[in-house]
Amino acid sequence: MKNFLLTLVVLLAVGASSYGIFYAMNDLPAVRRAAHEGDAMAWLRAEFQLDDAQFAAIQKLHDDYGTVCSGHCAAIMAAKRRHAPAAEVAVLEQFCTRSMMKHFRRVAALMPPGQGARYLAIVLPRVTAYDHTGAPNVQVRP
């Protein structure tokens, strides 16, 4: 009985060690930390392995796009406030979508080879899947 229990303990220890090693090997702590903190720029840096120059260029692109985005936002909100026809709001939103996709492609072009395509595969479906609910709660600027 004692031998059986000892063997069971050894097997459990081996299983737990194997679990821990493979968990650590497949974990991305930097990505998870950025996600926890809601820091999108830190996420971009960790997820797409940006070097300092790429990170700085993408951050500048985001900062510049922030102004454009605010303009789109203002136009859409103004149209909604004055109860503009749905078609007009839709046109503004389409313009916003095209502008955003263009921005994402420019960001992707600044990323390391292979990472840009992966970035677009993550963000573009989310642009088209927009469901008109929820407010942004992430800090794009660090």
Partner: protein, 101 residues
Amino acid sequence: MNMPENDQSLSRVLSAWRMAPRRNPRFRTAVWTRIGSAARPASWPGFVRAHAAVLAGALALALVAGALVGREEAQARVAAERAAIADAYVQSLDARTLRMP
């Protein structure tokens, strides 16, 4: 055919045969030692050696199961958190989701 005659001579030989084993003064002690060791539980290395095949299989199973569960859990956790931050990131740049003050 002289089988009965052979049987008789074999019987004679067998009845004349006498064993003269050498005395072993430690025979009794050795018997009790063996009985005692059979009754005592085997050591763990002995237990492992006795069940080597089963334990090797269980060890392999523990390794593979731990590896698979560890990998799946880590990947699932990263995927969930990646999805959450990616959603928030896209929304932060989406004028359609922004609210005017």
